[in-house]
């Protein structure tokens, strides 16, 4: 298909839409399953609960299959397709992220299976809202998939709103006070940042006369426009993206939402919207920042944002007592790390971003799964409740330890390799630009690892170093022993945790297994 199709009449427009529809088959499939679940919900309300989970998984598998097919169809050198009159861009970058999103969603569903909220109000095996849960979840996925393809500001806005609104609803799925409060906070922050972003976009439209970032006139007009206006427009728009990746100064929602929302949903929040946010950020930096004509130190700006994000995330995490809040700040800090790859702008930088995001998805899903498993047993999400668990359940303890080590970024885990690549790309960027801010970021970022060690190790610290002081766990256990299971953890969860943790080790020893995939993505937008 030609890259630049000028749109003239309704007829050509229609035929193009029909043509383009073929290329969004995975999204159509996802949408179809969304509707299917909705219909099931109407028919089988409160009955056949497993059917919903099976259907959801089936839908996700099918979508992933279609995406893999898309991946194999796109030749390595192709520049990507512009679809729907240049509304979205289908390239390997987008497909990679869409696969990542779908795989994370599969794991999220699997994690949700045995989740039970504190008040027991959200439990997929016993609650009537299961249909709604999956419907909204699919809506979020759809938005994320759309966002990873979009190069058109309007679509970006729509996709972000779709993600956001679905997120607001999902946040409330615990149906308790905390959850509702978090949801409201999320809506408020989300609304403001959406508004700011929309304002920026409207300015951009006013300056350039187009919403299509890839359009030549967009870039020409940006280059010609007055500096102050471009700056305002650009930074406002950036704000919306920073909100999605929970980077400073738009990170405030994260801790409350992470604490209040159901844990599987949090696992999803920490991966999917963030991944999609990073694609759009990568496209935005390529199309907008590198086009501004005047000498604007945007790399320095992003470096400062990254430093602040790292600082806030890591230091705030130090004081957390609730494990989910801690993970919220940790995910903020990780955004800072990934931002480093984005601002390096080399194709090596992009590659390391993709690697990092993939590894990060694994680590976070694994960590949250274990958090769910433990909180079901201890009935609490306080870190201090982890005392002695490592000796009682060595397997869970070791798996959690590996996840935490990987989040810190120590060998022999993929978290280390990911950090190594990110910082190598930063070093390269520093060498070619001589921007001292980048060197500062390098040193600063790496020393943040030491800070992060302190709070990540807190969990293994409580699990292994502290003896459980009361025997209440054992008491509870003996009460429960009348029940069905001997071990307190579901075998299913344990296997799932191993499946998630094992690649973290594999990808350290054989990082080329993933890199060889990512390498085939042409990083030219």
């Amino acid at each position: 298909m030609e890259k630049s199709i000028e749109v003239h009449s309704l007829g050509t427009q229609l035929s193009e839409i029909v043509e383009s529809a073929f290329f969004v088959f995975p999204e159509i499939c996802l949408l179809a399953f969304l509707l299917l679940i909705l219909i099931f919900d109407l028919i089988f309300r409160q009955k056949l609960l497993w059917l919903f989970t099976i259907t959801a998984l089936l839908g996700l598998f099918l979508t992933t299959g279609l995406l893999l097919q898309q991946w194999s169809l796109t030749a390595e050198s192709s520049e990507g397709l512009s679809l729907f009159s240049r509304m979205i861009q289908l390239d390997r970058l987008a497909i990679y992220f869409k696969i990542l999103i779908c795989v994370s969603a599969v794991f999220t569903v699997l994690i949700s299976v045995n989740y039970k909220s504190r008040a027991g109000s959200f439990h997929l095996r016993s609650v009537k809202r299961i249909g709604e849960y999956y419907t909204v979840l699919f809506g979020l996925l759809l938005g994320a998939m759309l966002l990873s393809m979009s190069t058109h500001l309007l679509i970006i806005y729509l996709a972000i709103e779709l993600i956001s609104i679905s997120s607001y609803i999902l946040t409330n799925f615990n149906f308790d006070e905390r959850s509702t409060e978090a949801s409201i906070k999320y809506i408020l922050y989300g609304g403001v940042s959406s508004g700011v972003m929309l304002y920026g976009m409207s300015l951009l439209y006013g300056l350039t006369g187009t919403l299509d970032m890839t359009h030549p006139s967009f870039q020409e007009n940006i280059a010609a426009a007055p500096m102050i206006l471009v700056l305002f427009a650009g930074l406002f728009t950036l704000g919306g993206f920073l909100f999605k990746i929970s980077s400073a100064p738009f990170h405030l929602w994260a801790p409350d939402v992470y604490e209040g929302a159901p844990t599987p949903v949090v696992a999803l929040f920490s991966v999917v919207p963030k991944a999609a946010g990073f694609v759009v950020l990568m496209r935005y930096t390529a199309h907008f920042f590198s086009q501004v004509s005047f000498d604007f130190p945007w790399q320095t700006l992003l470096a400062v944002i990254a430093i602040i994000t790292l600082l806030l995330g890591n230091f705030a995490a130090l004081w957390q007592k609730n494990v989910k809040r801690m993970m919220a700040y940790s995910s903020i800090a990780h955004s800072g790390f990934i931002l480093i790859g984005v601002l390096s702008t080399s194709s090596f930088g992009m590659l390391s971003v993709l690697f990092y995001v993939s590894v990060y998805a694994l680590m976070n899903l694994a960590a949250f799964l274990i958090i769910i498993m433990i909180s079901r047993e201890t009935g609490s999400e306080e870190i201090s409740q982890y005392r002695g668990l490592g000796e009682q359940y060595p397997l869970i303890g070791v798996l959690m330890l590996i996840a935490m080590i990987s989040l810190t970024g120590l060998p022999p885990t993929a978290g280390f390799t990911a950090k190594l690549f990110i910082f190598s790309s930063l070093w390269e960027a520093y060498q070619s630009s001589d921007n001292l801010m980048l060197l500062l970021l390098l040193v600063f970022g790496l020393f943040n690892t030491v800070v992060s060690l302190f709070y990540y190790l807190k969990i293994p610290y409580f699990m292994f170093f502290k003896k459980s002081e009361t025997t209440f766990v054992a008491d509870r256990f003996s009460h429960q022993r009348t029940g069905r299971r001997h071990d307190k953890f579901y075998l299913f969860d344990k296997i799932l945790a191993i499946v998630l943790i094992f690649p973290l080790l594999i990808l350290f020893f054989k990082s080329n297994w993933l890199i060889d995939f990512i390498h085939t993505i042409p990083f030219e937008f």
Partner: protein
């Protein structure tokens, strides 16, 4: 005998991975079979020691400099396998190898590590709670320590270097004394901070260094890695300097040997010798030297960065103190020799005076502190700080005597300090108390123990006839002669350092007098029944160490023959290349 020849060719791989395999097997055994874990661990470390002896036996002490790719360094038992090969777009290609080998600088430390690890394993016999976890961690520690001494790929080295922290953290934190948690986290944070310095430099290095052989193959200059001539390598290096090899054909590498040759640095990279850009007006190479130096010196440790050591030592259980002082400190010293000095010889020459000063300060300050300590283990910990100062001083001198002396000091300190910590463990096992003032006249009750204590103390304070004496004398000679040989150190440093010897004699003799001689005294009466002389297990641990320090003290050539060839090429390399590089860097 396929297996034997396989083992012969892969001795180093075996010595690293025997503990890992044993650990994997033990993982399947339920934790209640406690003796199994103990015996298996002792067996594994004994096999390591056997392998180390095999390596010693067929180690060629005067190898001919034959291969062109190794600038002055000759490695033996080389094993090099492709591990990770990445194609990173514009960044070029990246190769990480499984590259292990030994030379004179590392082979003695491998032997030391094997010996101390075996002693540590025997000493771990008394561990009662969570035996399975303890011994699994111990085995992992064994593997990573030895791996650290033989790895020549920076990535591999860093992997082992970092991986040591985790088992150590848990071993101190779970089986240690009352303040174990504080000590464990302090140890972890300090060393991790140090490794971040190393990591920064590692990133800088591998992004700027290419592998001449693999790049040559990529660029079509070479056909295969087997038949490489010096001329071909020079051609590749020249074309790199002329920028005529396209970027995506350049193979970047973590190979430390490649990093030692300045012709392998890509032009216009910060760490390249001719690059004048620098950071804040300082040469990037000198800054990188400093960073790497700090990273390893934390581990060594030298004075301003040593505060983790007394805590970690005091809180760690006896076997872990032994391993910590016996080998882990040497990893720092070894890292200085292998990485810092060999990759940045310019910095070694440039900062020689300061490093020497640090060494002298460590010697005096450590000794003074030891003099003031009331806890026997703390006293030994500070004596370690003092003795590691000799390593720094010897290295700084960049003379053959000084460097050999520094290496010898590491080796002999490894043996002696293991003994000292075991000795401290003996009283601690019996009473749970290590305060010097709480004991008196122990020689009455425990004569054989006292004999071994006297041997260990005298060995440590540098009495002639023990290995410590030879090592320290060589360091003095080296640092004294540096003033005439390469003008790097002033004479007063050697002279001031001798004060350390006197202080050493003071704190050891004083301790001996207070604890072992004079009237018999115990703080608590109920200890009286527990003051029994050494048991068989303690003899088994202490006697070989005592013999080793005597043997190496009387026949130092046993050690020096192993290192001489490598040390002289090392000293020659660092001096000449360091001077040349420094001239280029400073633009003289």
């Amino acid at each position: 005998m396929g297996f034997l020849s396989l083992m012969q060719n892969h001795l180093l791989t075996f010595i690293i991975f025997v503990p890992v395999v044993v650990a994997a097997l033990l993982l399947c055994i339920p934790g209640r079979f406690k003796p199994v874990f103990k015996i298996a661990t002792i067996t594994a470390t004994a096999i390591q020691l056997l392998l180390a002896i095999l390596i010693f036996q067929s180690f060629n002490t005067s190898p001919a400099v034959s291969s062109a790719i190794q600038p002055g360094f000759v490695f033996q038992y080389v094993e090099k396998l492709d591990w990770i090969n990445l194609d990173l777009n514009t960044f070029g290609k990246l190769s990480i190898d499984y590259f292990v080998a030994v030379d004179g600088l590392s082979v003695t430390l491998v032997g030391l590590a094997a010996l101390v690890l075996l002693v540590g394993a025997i000493s771990s016999w008394t561990i009662q709670d969570n035996t399975k976890g303890y011994f699994l961690l111990y085995l992992l520690l064994c593997a990573s320590v030895v791996g650290c001494f033989v790895a020549l790929d920076f990535f591999l080295f860093y992997l082992f270097f970092e991986f040591m922290l985790l088992p150590m953290y848990f071993l101190i934190g779970m089986w240690g004394g009352p303040r174990r948690e504080y000590a464990a986290i302090k140890f972890f944070l300090y060393t991790l901070a140090g490794s971040i310095f190393i990591l920064i430099v590692m990133i800088g290095l591998y992004t700027s260094v290419m592998d001449p052989i693999e790049t040559g193959i990529q660029a079509g200059i070479l056909n295969d890695a087997e038949t490489v001539t010096q001329a071909q390598i020079t051609e590749v290096q020249q074309r790199i300097q002329e920028n005529t090899i396209p970027k995506n054909q350049i193979v970047k590498t973590f190979n430390m040997v490649a990093m030692m040759d300045r012709a392998n640095y890509l032009p216009d990279t910060l760490l390249e010798v001719n690059n004048n850009a620098g950071i804040f007006g300082f040469s990037a190479r000198l800054i990188a030297f400093m960073a790497l130096f700090i990273g390893f010196v934390i581990k060594l440790p030298a004075v301003p960065l040593h505060t983790w050591l007394p805590d970690a030592h005091v809180e760690a259980p006896t076997p872990i103190s032994v391993v910590l002082a016996g080998i882990l400190l040497k990893v720092g010293g070894y890292g200085l020799v292998r990485a810092t000095y060999s990759i940045f010889p310019d910095g070694a020459v440039f900062f020689a005076w300061w490093i020497g000063l640090l060494g002298v300060i460590a010697i005096i300050y450590g000794a003074m502190n030891a003099l003031a300590m009331k806890d026997l283990k703390k006293l030994i910990a500070y004596s370690s700080v003092s003795h590691m100062g000799f390593v720094l001083l010897g290295l700084a001198s960049l003379t053959s005597e000084g460097v050999s002396g520094g290496l010898f000091q590491m080796f002999s300190h490894g043996i002696i300090t293991s003994m000292l910590f075991l000795i401290a463990g003996v009283v601690y096992d019996r009473t749970g108390d290590r305060m010097i003032a709480h004991y008196g006249g122990l020689s009455v009750k425990m004569p054989s123990y006292t004999t071994l204590v006297v041997i260990a103390f005298f060995a440590s304070l540098g009495l002639p006839g023990f290995s410590g004496f030879v090592a320290e004398i060589m360091v003095f000679l080296g640092s004294f002669n540096a003033a005439t040989i390469n003008q790097l150190l002033p004479r007063w440093m050697a002279i001031v350092a001798t004060v350390g010897l006197i202080l050493g004699a003071a704190y050891y003799l004083w301790t001996l007098q207070r604890m072992f001689f004079g009237p018999y005294y115990l703080l608590k009466d109920q200890w009286n029944g527990q003051m029994i002389d050494l048991n068989l297990r303690e003899y088994v641990m202490l006697i070989p160490l005592a013999l080793a320090t005597l043997v190496f003290g009387i026949f130092p050539s046993l050690f020096l023959n192993m290192v001489n060839a490598s040390v002289s090429s090392f000293v020659h390399f660092v001096n000449t290349v360091g001077e040349e590089n420094l001239r280029l860097i400073l633009g003289k």
